[in-house]
């Protein structure tokens, strides 16, 4: 396999960027829906395959703007996988939206082009070996998602896009200020110019940086990228953007974009941890994580819209992940990585199901969606399995990661474990309560289903993976995650 990779005329890491980049340009020219959707799937599938090869073959960081290490390869593989399955879901979902006239066919070129542009910018953000380039990529990803959230052009969608744009831009602006401060801290040590923004050089010299500047920089980076992660109290854009955009975009937002911002945050956390005099970044993350968890858990009870419900659940889980990485140490970091992977898979699966639910019931209001297991058994039971997984019931993968997190917290900081467990139980109660309403009882009327049914395949693949991870984690994966957990410190 490695020998085969050497035969290729280009490096796989370039392909991870070039394929979506070219596909974005090509798809922007294709007005036919079917052809566009197929090419979108093909491009996403190819990107995923090339991302897989990164597990075997790393580029030389000295000659490239890009780099791959054990940490970001996890994010790239997970992200391109979810991007691929979402493109399969999107093909049938968007077809249905066009049939019912909710989406004008004229926007197809725009939608597919933006989908690939988003994939390009996320892969660039994850693999960039330069904090400035990483910032540019996250900015680009924000702008493409803003445009996608407003795709339906309704008043509500435009307002959601506007809110997302304003809050996201402020976040991104604060992150840029933090990035400038990192450069200022690095310049006296590394020297002027490009090298003082290269990640591999930064981390190698971080112990000599001015700790005061690093501290201030981290505050701005945490507020900036934290807005993109959706941590409370900076989360206000997230529920609107999830609820008003097309469902494939909700899946990509929760499954991918939040992870990219989290990745940026983790990189800077590593930078601070490498400087013995700088403030410890862990407690800050733990606080933000706990606030997000508890806040979102309460808000889950008040939701009336099914997509908003699961958007708040994403805030809850990003809070949990931030908490885990804030705790640090091999076990909590391992739990955080596993939780992030499981959350991406489960939450995008739930959004695949929710998108279909909203289509068959013709509404997103929780009160008008009842008795799904009776009226649509396959869809209803898939949603039940997905929500059971996200609520943390065994034997699903999220149970494993939450169990690891809670037990490691009890062992090290028993006082912190109390709010953690309280938040988990609160969220669990809310989800189960909502689930019984949606899934069981006498069914509410459905829309007469004229169009074709969206594909269930991506949904089932994700849930099966989450189930397998809950029952048995393969040895190499465990070893890999343990290695990354050590790297994160």
């Amino acid at each position: 396999m490695t020998a085969f990779l050497h035969q290729l005329p280009f490096a796989p890491i370039d392909a991870v960027l070039v394929v979506p980049g070219l596909a974005a340009l090509l798809l922007a020219l294709i007005p036919q829906y079917r052809l566009g959707a197929r090419l979108n799937m093909l491009a996403s599938g190819l990107t995923f395959l090339f991302a897989l090869t990164l597990l075997l073959e790393r580029p030389d960081p000295a000659v490239s703007f890009l780099f791959v290490d054990d940490l970001n390869v996890v994010f790239v593989v997970l992200g391109t996988f979810v991007g691929f399955t979402t493109s399969i879901f999107s093909a049938s979902y968007i077809g249905h939206e066009i049939e019912i006239g909710r989406l004008k066919p004229g926007y197809i070129r725009f939608y597919h082009g933006m989908y690939q542009a988003l994939s390009f910018s996320m892969n660039l953000g994850l693999t960039a070996n330069n904090v400035g380039l990483m910032w540019v990529a996250v900015e680009l990803a924000t702008l493409t998602t803003v445009l996608m959230v407003g795709l339906y052009r309704t008043q509500a969608a435009l307002e959601a896009a506007w809110k997302y744009f304003i809050l996201g831009s402020v976040g991104i602006a604060l992150a840029l200020f933090g990035t400038i401060l990192i450069y200022m801290a690095a310049r006296p040590v590394i020297g002027e110019g490009h090298d003082a923004m290269v990640w591999t050089t930064l981390i190698a010299n971080a112990n000599a940086f001015s700790p005061e500047l690093l501290n201030v920089a981290f505050v701005f980076l945490m507020l900036g990228y934290g807005t993109k992660v959706g941590l409370a109290p900076l989360h206000a854009w997230l529920p609107d953007a999830h609820a008003e955009g097309p469902t494939p975009i909700s899946a990509v937002l929760s499954g991918l974009l939040l992870n990219v911002a989290l990745y940026a945050l983790l990189r800077f956390k590593m930078l601070l941890a490498a400087n013995p005099l700088a403030v410890a970044p862990g407690p800050l993350l733990v606080t933000l994580g706990l606030v997000s968890l508890i806040f979102a858990a309460f808000m889950l009870y008040l939701r009336r819209d099914i997509k908003r419900l699961f958007a708040y659940s994403s805030i809850e889980h990003m809070g949990l992940i931030a908490f885990a990485f804030g705790m640090g140490g091999p076990l909590a970091n391992f739990a955080g990585l596993l939780h992030m992977t499981m959350h991406s898979l489960t939450k995008s699966a739930i959004f695949f199901a929710v998108g279909q639910v909203a289509q068959v019931k013709g509404t997103q209001k929780l009160a008008d969606i009842r008795g799904l297991t009776e009226s649509h058994p396959t869809l209803g039971w898939s949603l039940v399995v997905g929500v059971a997984a996200i609520a943390g019931l065994p034997p699903m993968g999220i149970f494993t990661s939450e169990f690891l997190l809670v037990s490691s917290t009890f062992a090290r900081e028993p006082l912190l474990a109390i709010p953690l467990v309280a938040g988990l139980l609160l969220a669990f109660g809310a989800l189960v309560w909502r689930l019984t309403g949606i899934a069981f009882g006498p069914p509410s009327p459905s829309v007469v289903d004229a169009g074709r049914r969206p594909s269930m395949l991506p949904l089932i693949i994700h849930l099966v993976l989450v189930l397998i991870a809950g029952l048995y984690l393969p040895g190499p994966l465990v070893a890999w995650f343990q290695n990354v957990a050590r790297m994160l410190g």
């Binding site: 400035g132 380039l133 445009l147 840029l176």
Partner: protein, 220 residues
């Protein structure tokens, strides 16, 4: 000469903070746009001065972008939009002008307290510039939260972005500054104008189709 270049840089950066304060109390949207244009002019001067002092000719590009795009094209475009939308009325300010100004002063004090000791090891031109740039950023944020009107929010965001450009150009030898400022300005301009066009056009669209539907129902 060393002393003079330092003073001139601080004067221009301080001028931006002053113009940011002027923006805070503008209660007419056209006045706000004029002050924003002045903000961009001061930014262009400041960046040009940094380009000269650091002998970094590429920064002149950033200065030219600030002057042409932010001081001329965007204010003129927004001016037209405001007149066409007919929203050149007063802008509401949450909490009144007095408290807003006091909060602004507090934010400037905060950024001095935070940045001056933190950047003590950096060279003096960058140290004070960073503190002043942070003041401009925070004042831009303050403006965004105190204004309800979408156009004033955009102006607030663009003044915040001016603060970022000031900080980036003050950091001697920072790579990607020109690229970042180009990307930021062009994309922001695109989105701002795009969102506005969509809003206006779609609103007309919906009104039109609504009228058509009503008409058809009336006939049947």
């Amino acid at each position: 000469m060393e002393r003079f270049s330092l003073d001139a840089a601080h004067l221009l950066a301080g001028g931006m903070v002053l113009v940011s304060f002027m923006m805070l109390y503008q209660n007419r949207i056209l006045g706000l746009l004029n002050v924003f244009a002045a903000h961009a002019v001061v930014l262009a001067l400041s960046v040009a001065w940094q380009a000269y002092v650091q002998s970094a000719p590429h920064l002149f590009v950033t200065a030219a972008i600030a002057l042409i795009l932010k001081a001329i094209i965007i204010p003129v475009a927004l001016h037209h939009m405001v007149l066409r939308l007919g929203v050149h009325r007063d802008i509401e300010t949450v909490g009144g002008i007095g408290p807003t100004m006091l909060m602004g002063i507090g934010l400037v004090a905060l950024s001095m307290v935070v940045m001056l000791p933190a950047a003590a090891e950096a060279d003096p031109i960058a140290r004070e510039d960073l503190a002043l740039a942070l003041s401009v950023i925070l004042l831009g944020l303050l403006m965004m939260v105190t204004r309800q009107n979408a156009i004033s929010q955009i102006v607030g965001f663009m003044s915040l972005e001016n603060g970022l450009v000031l900080a980036a150009t003050g950091a001697r030898g920072m790579p990607l500054v020109v690229e970042i400022s180009v990307a930021f300005s062009v994309l922001v301009a695109f989105i701002v104008i795009g969102v506005f066009l969509f809003r206006i056009r779609e609103r007309f669209d919906t009104i039109d189709t609504q009228a058509l539907d009503d008409f058809r129902e009336g006939r049947e």
